[in-house]
């Protein structure tokens, strides 16, 4: 990423004042904290987290260690299960990629341009955060089914969305869009006009200013948004199962196969596949933490 030196790196003293770290930790100077309630609040936090999150999560790993290696491997590497990984991770990747492009575009439009309906769009972008996934699922299915508004338009073109892998993709685009927009938007808003003015006065074209000045500063946030959207899409269940059609080997996602195995009382299989998903989630979580640290560092903000 040698080309992605930000403007702030090149002209450190030009860094916008507004992007400077807002809070300077003053606690380091004081030797003693006079505020009460540390042990109480930390005690509540740790107890609650342990009971609700950590112990149940530990259960799944402990359970898995009771399986023999061939048992585990047979469950997670069965062809039908592998097909779900390919579908889940593949469509999640594709949806996150599309959202990275259009999420950036939408964030740009919302930050840079005044147009009628801007406030409405800005408010409703968060819809997938607030709308229950099951509601999104049945709405998308109705929309893309053969007799739906969009489905009936796509049918003559020979494009089938509902009950195909393409339907999974559409559902994952829906839930991932606000993730990218809301990660990129604040960074765009922080951008000071000074950099672009400097570049323009040096004779750079508008396109060149975007490619060489604006975009490099957005890369960390955009990658973070992409990774967050991907992580959310991989585990998504509610909005997908209605539109997917759930055919084994074709349009069956990994979370669904866990449920299928549970319903057949195959606890071992369900647990093994769940562990694979958890490990994937932890790896993504780690990557996202690194990306966010990078992004915070780049935009000059304290995390």
């Amino acid at each position: 990423m040698s080309s992605s030196t930000t403007t702030a790196d090149r002209w450190p003293n030009l860094a916008p004042a507004s992007a400077a770290p807002k809070t300077v930790s003053k606690s380091k100077r004081s030797t003693r904290n006079v505020l009460p309630g540390f042990s109480l609040s930390l005690g509540i936090t740790l107890t609650y987290l342990s009971l609700v999150v950590l112990l149940p999560l530990a259960a799944i790993f402990i359970k898995t260690f009771q399986f023999t290696w061939p048992e585990f491997w047979d469950a997670v590497a069965a062809p039908r299960v592998v097909a779900t990984y390919i579908l889940s991770f593949g469509t999640a990747l594709a949806a996150a990629a599309l959202n990275a492009v259009f999420g950036l575009l939408l964030a740009w439009v919302l930050v840079r341009y005044d147009f009628p309906g801007r406030k409405l769009v800005d408010t409703l972008v968060d819809l997938p955060f607030a709308l229950p996934t099951a509601v999104a699922g049945i709405a998308l299915t109705a929309l893309y089914a053969k007799n739906g508004w969009l489905g009936s338009m796509l049918e003559p073109l020979g494009i089938k969305v509902a009950f195909t892998p393409l339907g999974v993709f559409v559902a994952l685009v829906f839930i991932g869009l606000p993730v990218v927009v809301r990660t990129v938007q604040p960074i765009l808003q922080d951008n000071d006009a000074e950099f672009e003015e400097a570049a323009a006065s040096l004779g750079a074209s508008r396109l060149r200013v975007f490619v060489q000045v604006i975009f490099p500063a957005l890369v960390p946030a955009l990658l973070t948004g992409f990774a967050l959207a991907f992580a959310r899409a991989v585990g998504e269940y509610g909005s997908v199962i209605f539109i997917a059609g759930n055919m084994p080997y074709v349009s069956e996602i990994t979370p669904l196969i866990i449920i299928t195995k549970l319903e057949q009382y195959d606890y071992r299989g369900a647990t093994s596949v769940a562990v694979v998903m958890l490990v994937a989630a932890f790896i993504l979580l780690f990557a996202i933490n690194l990306l966010q640290a990078w992004s915070a560092h780049r935009s000059g903000r304290a995390s």
Partner: protein, 308 residues
């Protein structure tokens, strides 16, 4: 994962605090103004994408719900199974949300006001439920409390049902909503520092009084925001609840599960009628979110003015 819903949103509130740059700021300057054709091409593209992927599904919910008329709509909602699903959803949220508020306040107080080792790790742990698939979240409770689980035989001997019963639904709901309030309050309280609280303590106020009269007024908008997001997710959770519920009609069905059953029985109008209630809740959530953001910007602007 420091975010998904909440982190991203709090960052945008943060951006507001840093002095929000509106489109006017960029469009007033020659260097940052784009040619008209570029602007309108991009606006058209962006808004089309928004309409296609977000607005149309939302409109579909209300259109399908009312397509067969108001009578079908009303009947679908007052029908006893729908009613009991609504009640169970409200009960689950009424237990999960206050517990997560207490947790969120405690976690934010410990993390924002004190220095200790492993703080960053603790923040990551709080975010953990965001990165766990809802289905896996449900499964872990089945492994602990199910018939073959850790406490399975003990629960059976004492005639307590957790899985395929209401306690399981509440536990799964709590799990998926753990981070919401804490995620909202931690950055806010970190940004506010602790000088005000320290001053109150030095002046002789009790810890509880400092919390209720100094801290709470400062964080009230962030808290409200965290609560409504937490509530929206608690009422709408599907995957995790689906695993632990057992789908017993009229007993262990929440609203999203009831929607699924109606939909699978081809009662589309009824399914969308119940779905429209949740869609309304989502819209109210988004409107309150906007109001809260607006209030936050206003109070930050006011405090900046008074600081001058």
């Amino acid at each position: 994962m420091s975010s998904l819903a909440v982190g991203a949103a709090s960052r945008s509130a943060d951006a507001a605090a840093l002095g929000l740059r509106s489109p006017k700021y960029f469009e007033a300057r020659t260097a940052t103004r784009d040619p008209k054709w570029v602007k309108w091409t991009l606006v058209t593209l962006g808004v089309s994408y928004f309409v296609l992927f977000l607005l149309l599904p939302l409109i579909t919910v209300f259109y399908e719900a009312l397509r067969k008329g108001w009578e079908v709509y009303a009947n679908a909602i007052i029908e006893p199974d729908a009613w009991s699903a609504i009640k169970l959803t409200l009960i689950a949220a009424a237990i999960a949300v206050p517990l997560n508020v207490v947790f969120g306040l405690a976690a934010a107080w410990a993390i924002a006001k004190f220095e200790f080792r492993g703080k960053q790790f603790l923040i990551t742990l709080i975010d953990l439920p965001f990165s766990v698939s809802p289905v896996v979240a449900g499964l872990i409770y089945v492994l602990v409390f199910g018939a073959n689980g850790w406490f399975g035989s003990w629960l059976r001997d004492n005639d307590i049902k957790v899985i395929f019963a209401i306690p399981g639904i509440i536990l799964a709901t709590i799990f998926v909503t753990v981070p919401f309030v804490a995620r909202e309050l931690i950055p806010l309280m970190q940004a506010q520092g602790k000088e005000e609280e320290e001053a109150a303590i030095v002046l002789g106020a009790s810890g509880w009084r400092v919390f209720t009269q100094v801290t709470l007024p400062n964080i009230k908008w962030g808290l409200i925001y965290g609560v409504i997001l937490c509530n929206a997710r608690a009422m709408g959770e599907f995957g995790a609840v689906s695993v632990v519920s057992g789908h017993i009609r009229g007993l262990t069905n929440t609203m999203p599960l009831h929607i699924e059953i109606l939909y699978n029985e081809y009662q589309f109008a009824a399914a969308f009628a119940v779905a429209s209630l949740l869609a309304l809740l989502a819209l109210v959530t988004l409107v309150i979110k906007k109001i809260v953001e607006w209030q936050q910007t206003k109070s930050i602007a006011a405090s900046q003015k008074s600081a001058l």
